[in-house]
Symmetry: C2
Subunit: 183 residues, 2 copies
């Protein structure tokens, strides 16, 4: 059994759906509130995983989702959640009103450890797109403000199935699954 430590049940549901019914391990949700560090997404995810591994016995996984705006040279990155909360989905896109470049990179960084003081492995999934004015009601977080490249819909306009086929989270989870399949 692998314990997925996150306060966001939506993430667990997406991860389980992507792993599929044939995944050999049970994923258990543990809604612990872990203090996160400042830094780049890899460092944030790694630290969170190390902290989680000290609190949970047995294998543990965490994830960090970040949104990097090209106009802001990669910011807000891991701090996007605070901007989403502060501005709301109606205003989030206004953060780059001052720039013509609307390019955005969604990154899902999953971190896995077999236990306290064990190595942390990172699995990263990246989805390129644009930050746009809010459209759509599906999904969660800033899905409504993110339109993937080669798509006319935001992540919140497409259904869960389509999102699950292309998302940054899917790519990270598949890398994680590949690691398990190769063990």
């Amino acid at each position: 059994m692998i314990t997925f430590v996150t306060g966001n049940i939506n993430k667990v549901q997406e991860v389980k759906a992507i792993l599929g019914a044939d995944f050999a391990h049970e994923i258990k949700l543990e809604p612990l509130d872990i203090i996160e560090v400042q830094g780049d997404p890899e460092f944030v995810a790694k630290s969170k995983c190390q902290t989680a591994a000290k609190l949970i016995s047995g294998p543990v996984m965490v994830e960090d989702t970040s949104l990097h705006l090209a106009a802001l040279n990669g910011m807000p990155g891991p701090y996007i959640k605070y901007f989403e909360k502060a501005l709301g989905l109606d205003q989030l896109h206004k953060l780059i009103d001052g720039w013509p470049n609307k390019a955005a990179t969604a990154v899902c960084t999953m971190a896995y450890s077999e236990g306290a003081d064990m190595d942390v492995r990172l699995f990263k999934g990246v989805l390129e797109g644009q930050l746009v004015a809010r459209r759509g009601e599906n999904g969660f977080g800033w899905d409504a403000c993110f339109q993937p490249i080669n798509s006319s819909e935001t992540l919140a306009e497409m259904g869960a199935e389509r999102k699950g086929q292309i998302s940054h989270r899917r790519k990270a989870v598949l890398a994680f699954k590949q690691f398990w399949d190769g063990k």
Copy 2:
């Protein structure tokens, strides 16, 4: 002796100048790079102080400087340093191009502890103003983009002396000094 843990020597110089020659304790700079947590400025400063106190023997102080933009409902706050670095001073003000409200609050949060596992005391200084296009060459950090209320100059246009009379850091340091004077 009090050890001031910071990577920024400018901050130590300002603090020493504000405390003045008659302050009874020596302030020693320790340029340790401490991992900071995510959260509000009080939590960031308190955590940093607790970490510093574990690394240093004897009384320790740290500070966190944050810039809260009214248009962004308080963001970037403690993350301003990453935005300053990513955008540079020439572009920082563009972050709120989408909003007419340019109000900004500069906050200096000092944290002091007598040692590891001891209480942490916080001293806060606040300066209201506006985020403006870069002007001036004095000061450091985002001083050139912050114009205090009732001033026609940015913090980087006024000299160190005038800045030291009105700054958020001055207010925090005076609260710290008052605490010592009352001991």
